[in-house]
Structures are given as C-alpha cells and as structure tokens.
C-alpha cells in the first residue's frame, strides 16, 4: 500500500510552518506523529497534496507544571505521557489510557496533539481531556488562542483548529482538594478502537463531598462526548453506590452510539454504564489513596 504523491516540507519554526500553511492552503496537512494520517493515506482515504512535518520545530514536546496548570506540548508522544511520573502522580488516567492506545510502537510516535487534532471520536485522548477539563492552545497568523475542550470537537474529523492554524499545547488544570482519575475502554482485542470508553476525574473537598466531576465518553457519539448529567449527579454528593448507579445510568442514556461490528446500541449503552460505574469507583479510590 502506497500513498498518492505529495510534496513534503519540514519547517524549523512555527512561523515558517504557519507561512507554509497560508501559502499552500487547504491542500496542506500537518504531520505530527503521522500514526493516524499515514495509515489513511496508504489506503488513499486521505490524499493531501502537501505534508508539513512539525518534527523539526523545537519546543513542542514537553510536560511542564506552571502554577495550577500542567501544560503538555502538542508533539509530546503518547509514550511520554504514559511514562511521565510527574504527570501520572497527578493524573494516573494517563497511565490507564496509554496502555490502551493502539500498541507500544504506535505510542512511541503518535502525539497527544495529533490524537486530538485528528478529531476522531474513536480516539481515547479526547474523553480523557474532557474528564480533565483541558484547554487547547492553538496558534495562527493572528496569534495564540485557547479553546475549552467542550468547544474543540465539531464533527467527524473536524475540530476548532481552523485552516492555517496549528494545535500547540494542551493545558490541564490541577484541581484543588483531593482528586483522582481513571480511564478504561472495552475493546474486542488489545489495540482496538473502543466499543465504548469512559474517562473520569473526581474532585473532593475535605469533608469528602464531590466538588467537581469530569466524565468523557469514547466512541459512542459522532464527537467525543461529555456525560454532563452524570457529572451533575455526582457533584455535591459523597459518591455513594446509589449515586454512582444513577450517574452510570445517565451516561448510558445520554450517549448516542451507533451499531457496528463492535455491537448494537443497547450493548454499547450497557458497556458505557458498566465502565462509568467502574471508573467512578476507581477515580474515587485514587482520590483518597
């Protein structure tokens, strides 16, 4: 399998990359890790005329704590997030999700920025970012702007990154109080896209009351989905079994899965319910451990 012909540039600064994007227009495509794009090009599902490779642009791969925020560079490889002790001490959800994304070789090259910018509801990181309430930093000729994760995903392969723009970083707020996070997906075999996946982060105050809840769902909606009713059900409670049951029920009702080889709607709703329950329990455990 061989992609169609295309031209290739490897700029060494963001400015140069932005200029190229402007010059070439919508036939250009950004190449980050390439592990979503190149497979599609090999099958000729995608046939961009020009690839702009960001690998030679320095300063896009980092995991930094800045005050109450952890900032992750867009070109940070999946494996680096999975293995970062600093990141996982705060957000063990990255270890959970890391193990489940494709396979080790893909995680060595696939990037967090690419994972999100691909805009695929079947990818796992979007649900994680929803659970963590992340913000996405985007640069264009006009400067840098920040978009909340809820305003980032528009539709099938469509995101807030507009023509001529580049996703540069992900900003994750560090909650006050005790907090814990977890992710799991149901898959037909290891490395598969999710039949359904659930990412959860819960924050508790000193009295053990849940003050904030983030729940993101994978591959059960045309876009990555926030389980808002489930979150609301948890906030203000001590997250008892009854509340968990209720939140899980809401998630299964509010998702919009479509039937495919992985299962019918009913089955996927069931998976979402079970996983929501289990991930809430796990996130809560982690918050207090």
């Amino acid at each position: 399998m061989i992609p169609s012909s295309f031209d290739y540039s490897a700029p060494t600064t963001l400015e140069e990359a932005l200029n190229l994007l402007e010059e070439i227009g919508d036939e250009a495509k950004i190449l980050a890790g390439g592990h979503s794009l190149i497979p599609m090009m090999k099958l000729r599902f995608a046939e961009p005329e020009h690839l702009i490779d960001l690998s030679n642009v320095p300063g896009l791969s980092y995991i930094n704590t800045e005050g109450n925020t952890v900032k992750i560079g867009a070109m940070t490889r999946e494996v680096d997030a999975e293995e970062s002790e600093e990141l996982n001490k705060l957000f063990p959800i990255f270890k959970d999700v890391g193990k489940l994304i494709a396979d080790p070789q893909v995680r060595n090259f696939g990037t967090l920025g690419g994972n999100l910018a691909h805009g695929d509801a079947a990818n796992d990181q979007p649900a994680v970012m929803m659970a963590l309430n992340a913000e996405i930093e985007i640069i264009g000729k006009e400067g840098t702007r920040t978009v909340g994760i809820d305003d980032f995903f528009f539709g099938f392969y469509a995101t807030a990154v507009e023509e001529g723009e580049i996703l540069t970083a992900i900003k994750i707020p560090i909650p006050d109080g005790k907090f814990g996070s977890a992710y799991h997906k149901s898959e037909r075999k290891v490395g598969d896209y999710a039949t359904g996946g659930v990412g959860v982060q819960l924050t508790f105050d000193s009295s053990g009351t849940c003050t904030k809840a983030g729940i993101g769902l994978t591959n059960v909606n045309p876009t990555p989905l926030r389980a808002s009713r489930s979150e609301e059900a948890l906030v203000g409670t001590t997250v008892t079994d009854e509340v968990i049951e209720q939140a899980a029920q809401f998630a299964s009702e509010d998702c919009n899965p479509s039937a495919d080889l992985r299962g019918d709607e009913d089955y996927k709703r069931r998976i979402i319910k079970v996983l929501t329950k289990r991930m809430i329990v796990k996130a809560k455990e982690r918050a207090f451990s």
Binding site: M1, P3, S5, D7, Y8, G34, I38, K42, F109
Partner: protein
C-alpha cells in the same frame, strides 16, 4: 518531487533518490536492500516491519523515509553483537520462539526496547509489550520464554532452561 536523501541504517549511510511518499520500510528493503524487515499488512497492525529509530521501536510502514533523515536506524541486520548473536537472537532460537520466521525480526526489534525499559519483565509485561506484533505460528508461549531468556542473559542472571515443559 523526488529528492535525494541519506539515511543511517545500522551505522552505515545509504543515499537514494526517493519520493516523499516512499515509506521507510520500502527504503530499507528496496533502496538499502536490507530485506530482513518485513511487511505483513497495510494498516499498521502486524508489526512485522518493526525497527528502531534512535532506540525507539517503530513501525517502519507508518513512517516516511524522509522523516527518518538524521536519525539512527537499526534493523535486524544490525542486531547481532560483534562477538556473536544478540541475546534475543539466541533466546528465540534456543526457546523455539519462531516457526516461519516472518514476524521474528519485528518481534525481536520490539523486544530490544522492551528489555531496555524493563530488564526483568513479567509474563504480563511481555505479552502487553509485544501486543503490536502479530505472530500466527507460535501461539506466543515460546516468544515470551525467549524474551525472558534474553532478559536473564542481558542481566547476567542464571539462564532459564530451554527444554520444553510438559504436563505429566
């Protein structure tokens, strides 16, 4: 759109004129003529094309040759040590970790990085660690055994038995 690129593979430089769309695996096999790296699928699923780029295991079917300019590439042909086979090569042979041999180079190259990061892996670590490499022949039992053996050899520990174990 063709351009001349030079890639460093197993310490040697290979210069060739390629299109940007030339995949790294095709450069390795058809320009450098190193055919130990194999192709088993078109969806980045099988891992037969696994090599090392700057020490990281990579599926060379999912990377453009041009992306690898300036990197250190290692293929199975560069795995053996100066004084004999690499412990993984020995481990796979001694433990019958291969049948047809087609997935073996990719499997071993993946295991190089696995053992580097985790010198004493458990069975589960190994199984998850090679989950991006398909083997259709061995049923994986002896691949796990081979990697454990190589780990022991690299750590300088006593080598585990290579005799087959049977229930009796």
């Amino acid at each position: 759109m063709k351009r001349e690129i030079t890639l460093k593979i197993n310490g040697e430089e290979y210069t060739s004129t390629v299109e940007p769309r030339t995949l790294l695996v095709h450069f390795i096999r058809e320009h450098a003529m190193l055919t130990g790296t194999h192709i088993g699928c078109d969806t980045s699923s099988c891992g037969a094309c696994t090599i090392l780029i700057d020490g990281k295991s990579a599926k060379s079917c999912t990377i453009l040759a041009i992306q690898a300019v300036g990197k250190e590439i290692t293929t199975v042909e560069g795995l053996a040590l100066a004084d004999g086979p690499h412990p993984l090569q020995e481990g796979f042979k001694e433990n019958h970790g291969l049948h047809c041999g087609f997935c073996t180079p990719g499997m071993m190259m993946r295991a190089v990085e696995l053992l580097e990061k985790n010198p004493n892996p458990t069975e589960e670590d190994i199984r998850w660690g090679i989950s991006g490499n398909l083997c259709r022949c061995t049923g994986y039992n002896n691949i796990v055994k081979a990697i454990k053996y190589a780990g022991a050899k690299m750590r300088g520990d006593e080598l585990p038995s290579t005799e087959p174990e049977f229930v009796e």
